[in-house]
């Protein structure tokens, strides 16, 4: 035997004197098990609570329902989304929570089709139109993901419902913005080219009128040509305004002052049968905008309001300060967060139907009777407001009326002195003018107009040629140049020449500013700007003004 066992110790254990020899009761064992169970139950309950918290924290609505559409469970988001309570949400079926897609495709039909697809074990994600059973008319767009689950040993479906009405609204908002932008580009391009031609027509008409003072018959015809051209030029201006391509000369503007200055005119526009109410804000932030543009905006909106009212009603003009925060900006098309002064034009008219509200700012979109409006009024308002870094909103209820709110950003800088002096008389002079214009017809028109007034004009369609001329000794008193040209633009030409002729004055001519011109610095440096197309009178007046300054 290799190992001698410890018989003594074994004996002690057998007769019950070992440390482990006492008989133990089952009771502590039971207690331990009960405690274990209790702990398991507590942890289960906690886990259940945690999951419930997660369930109720979801932003999406979660609905458990059976194949018949009976609802068994839902989270807090569902209650909020569908406007029901924890007590009542089971009273409605999935059919009650859904909107018919149309009379031809009732909910029940769709649900049956879905069930067949789900039975093939494919989780489904689809767009759906949801309904709040207690709030008729408040149907909303949702995205549903549907899948089969086991729930208490029962086969159910779980629908995770995401409210996408906001997403759709933002998409629509963005679409509209983009649409107006591209329309603007198109309109701006067309108007720019047309303007040059109109400049030629008006210029030659003016020249002929000068020479036909003694021929009344011919004069009348020429006047007609000139009038038609000016009318077209006016339409062009509106298109450019919509395209945000109007050259603007912004200053600090107090909207209250602006409205008060035009009140008389507005009352006349409105007519006797309508009331005009004016509610100015007691303190109002100033804005940085072109006052003449704002006049156009105000006039257009008031005319628009008048046309909406039949037979009689009230138009209210109102100003206010408004703070737009990040959240609010999300809901307002084109809006940036910030401080705004607001001008509201409210009418008690027939209102704008929701389906066309989105389109009223498109050019040539009009609901007015044929011939009553150009369809450019609101388009121009839109373009002007956007060009001045503002935005506008429309609220309208059919049969109640509409409100157009123009938001313009608060201006905190210094007031810019409006240098517009009294109109100078039309006179020419002996000074030398260098005219640069790449459009040949317009170049010739300008040349003729200036020479007609007695100026010595050197004209060239090539900006580089202009530089060469001056380098070779030409010493003009004024440079009149187109802004947008191939090769060098007007500003570059001016900068080159000024280095050679420090006292040189300049008059920029353009169909639109196109963002190339720093208008504020322009005003300070004593140079000038002329919007195409221009008449003989405005050209000569501006040229004289610059030479005399």
């Amino acid at each position: 035997m290799t190992e001698r066992r410890d018989w003594t110790r074994m004996r002690e254990s057998i007769i019950g004197l070992g440390t482990d020899s006492s008989r133990r009761t089952y009771y502590p064992e039971l207690l331990a098990r009960v405690a274990e169970l209790e702990e398991a139950r507590t942890s289960l309950r906690r886990s259940e609570e945690n999951l419930r918290t997660l369930f109720d924290s979801l932003h999406d609505a979660v609905i458990l329902h059976d194949w018949e559409g009976r609802v068994l469970e839902a989270n807090e988001a569902m209650l909020a989304m569908y406007g029901v309570t924890r007590e009542t949400f089971r009273d409605y079926t999935i059919a009650d929570y859904s909107a018919d897609a149309g009379p031809a495709s009732p909910v029940a039909h769709h649900l049956r089709a879905l069930r067949d697809r789900i039975l093939n074990d494919e989780p489904q994600v689809f767009a759906w139109r949801a309904r709040r059973p207690l709030q008729p008319g408040s149907d909303f767009d949702v995205e549903v993901s549907l899948r089969k689950v086991r729930w208490y040993d029962q086969e159910l479906m779980v629908s995770v419902v995401r409210d996408i009405s906001e997403r759709k609204r933002l998409e629509a908002m963005l679409n509209q913005s983009q649409k107006l932008d591209s329309l603007g580009q198109l309109a701006g391009g067309v108007a720019h080219d047309t303007n040059n031609m109109l400049g030629v027509i008006i210029g030659y008409a003016d020249l002929l009128l000068e020479r036909t003072a003694e021929q009344p018959g011919l004069r009348r015809d020429l006047e007609q040509i000139r009038k038609a051209a000016l009318h077209s030029a006016d339409l062009n201006r509106q298109l450019l305004a919509f395209a945000r391509k109007q050259t603007i000369q912004p200053t600090a503007v107090d909207l209250n002052t602006l409205v008060e200055a035009t009140q008389k005119l507005l009352r006349r526009l409105i007519g006797e049968q309508h009331a005009l109410v004016w509610k100015p804000a007691t303190t109002l932030w100033r804005v940085w905008a072109d006052p003449s543009q704002l006049d156009q905006v105000l006039t257009n909106l008031v005319v628009n309001a008048r046309d909406a009212i039949e037979p009689a009603g009230t138009i209210t003009l109102e100003t206010a300060n408004i703070l737009v925060d990040e959240a609010a900006a999300q809901f307002l098309p084109d809006a940036e967060p910030g401080e705004y002064a607001v001008l509201r034009v409210t009418d008690t008219g027939h209102g704008i139907p929701p389906d066309i509200q989105a389109r009223i700012f498109e050019p040539f979109f009009t609901t007015k009777a044929l011939g009553r409006g150009t369809g450019l009024g609101l388009a121009m308002v839109y373009g002007i407001v956007r060009q001045n870094r503002g935005f506008l909103t429309v609220t309208s209820a059919e049969g109640v009326g509409s409100t157009f709110s123009i938001h313009l950003p608060r201006h905190l800088g210094a007031e810019c002195a409006d240098a517009a002096g009294p109109a100078a008389e039309l006179r020419g002079g002996p000074e030398t003018i260098l005219l640069v214009e790449d459009e040949a017809a317009l170049l010739e028109t300008g040349c003729r107009l200036l020479e007609g007034a007695g100026y010595r004009v050197t004209a060239t369609p090539d900006p580089l040629e202009a530089l060469r001329l001056v380098e070779e000794g030409l010493s003009p008193d004024l440079l009149a140049t187109d802004l947008v040209m191939p090769g060098l633009d007007g500003q570059q030409v001016y900068q080159h020449l000024r280095r050679l002729r420090p006292g040189l004055r300049v008059l920029f001519l353009s169909g639109y500013a196109a963002g190339t011109l720093d208008l504020e610095s322009l005003a300070a440096s004593g140079s000038g700007f002329l919007q195409k197309p221009f008449s003989r009178a405005t050209l000569l007046q501006k040229v004289r003004e610059l030479l005399d300054s």
Binding site: I14, R23, T25
Partner: protein, 388 residues
């Protein structure tokens, strides 16, 4: 008063037990009292055939308890049966065990309780005080006289792989209640009566000469020896005599109380090894080995053996130790033979070549620890040879 209690502490452990006719009918009441609701009733085919299993099941069900039956216990309970029973216990979510049967059934029930409470294999719990978690409440209803598993801290299970019996000794396997009903002995045949009776006799003798005996165990041991010696022959001849049966049952109980606390000796160590190897009845093994081990132990405690002789009605007056030893051997062998247990191990298929293996296993048995003379393997080998 013996010297033992002057030198050492002594403990006496016994379950609550009810002895008497129809005691088994209290099964339902006790099961409920112990907090049971789903009961695993463990029995064997023989006991079931005698009707005792269903008798007890009916009693339990009358008390509103849910009963699951496990009647697959073989004469020497196997580890595999324990595994099956424990799985059944868990599957049926039982919370109480009722054993109806002899030593095998009660030992198996103890094994099932241990594994159900602690997991693993029953073989993991071999040895003394190796059961960590107490088991579900256990009610024992013995149907044989002799084994005394109903009051003991012993469970003997066969390791089928090794073909050896393992002993599990733990206070954890002392039943909660024993319902000892002599009525159940009426179905035992003569040979089984003899075997179980001899088992009780060996329990009492080994407990009395155990080096862990105490005054309390001595009382029960001597009384058990007296009762078996007086009534076993008659009982084996007249199995239907309820009064004789009651004496044997009482003897078994008292022997059980004695050995459960004083433990056993090398007869049991050798019987466990033998029974595990040959699949012989436990009482039979004991009866075949007893005289030889008594002879081997006699010199260690002659005075105690003389008193055993006295209790057996063997007149040793005027004899010296050597004569007394010889007379006692003869007396025991005569009793054995009278009860129908004759011949030796060789007649039961044991070959000389098996003895080394038997002795090697027997020397590992914890029962040796309380044998009055500490044996070596060679001693045990010699004792097996004598018993051939």
């Amino acid at each position: 008063m013996g010297s033992s209690v002057m030198e050492e502490l002594r403990k006496f452990v016994a379950p609550e037990f009810i002895f008497g006719l129809e005691a088994r009918r209290l099964a339902g009441r006790y099961a409920r009292k112990l907090g049971g609701s789903r009961v695993l009733v463990i029995s064997d085919p023989g006991v079931a055939a005698a009707g005792w299993t269903e008798d007890v099941v009916a009693n339990l069900e009358a008390e509103g308890l849910l009963v699951t039956r496990f009647c697959g216990v073989s004469p020497n309970p196997r580890d595999t049966e324990v595994t099956t029973g424990a799985r059944l216990f868990r599957e049926a979510a039982c919370d109480l065990i009722v054993a109806v049967g002899g030593g095998s059934v009660m030992d198996c029930a103890k094994g099932i309780g241990i594994v159900a409470a602690n997991g693993g294999s029953i073989l993991d719990f071999e040895g003394v005080d190796r059961v960590p978690a107490p088991m579900a409440p256990l009610i024992c209803i013995p149907t044989t006289g002799g084994t005394s598993a109903d009051v003991s801290q012993f469970a003997i299970i066969t390791n089928t792989q090794e073909r050896v019996k393992i002993a599990i000794i733990s206070k954890a396997v002392v039943p909660d209640v024993a319902l000892i009903d002599p009525t159940t002995l009426l179905t035992m045949d003569a040979y089984l009566t003899a075997c179980t009776g001899m088992d009780a006799m060996v329990h009492a003798i080994e407990a009395y000469v155990s080096n862990a005996h105490s005054p309390i165990t001595d009382l029960h041991a001597l009384e058990a020896i007296r009762l078996v010696s007086t009534h076993l022959r008659a009982s084996a001849e007249a199995p239907a005599d309820l009064e004789l049966r009651t004496h044997i049952m009482l003897a078994s109980l008292q022997a059980g109380l004695a050995f459960s606390n004083a433990s056993l000796g090398s007869v049991h160590a050798m019987a466990h090894s033998l029974g595990g190897y040959m699949d012989l009845a436990h009482g039979e093994c004991n009866a075949l080995l007893l005289p030889h081990v008594m002879d081997y132990n006699f010199a260690m405690t002659p005075e105690r053996f003389r008193r055993i002789g006295g209790a057996m009605g063997c007149d040793l007056r005027g004899l010296n130790d050597r004569e007394s030893r010889s007379r006692l051997m003869t007396h025991v062998m005569a009793l054995r033979k009278d009860c129908g247990i004759d011949d030796g191990l060789s007649q039961r298929g044991v070959r000389s070549s098996d003895l080394y293996r038997l002795a090697s296993k027997a020397i590992e048995d914890p029962c040796n620890a309380t044998n009055p003379r500490l044996p070596s393997r060679e001693d045990l080998l010699a004792l097996y040879s004598e018993a051939m």
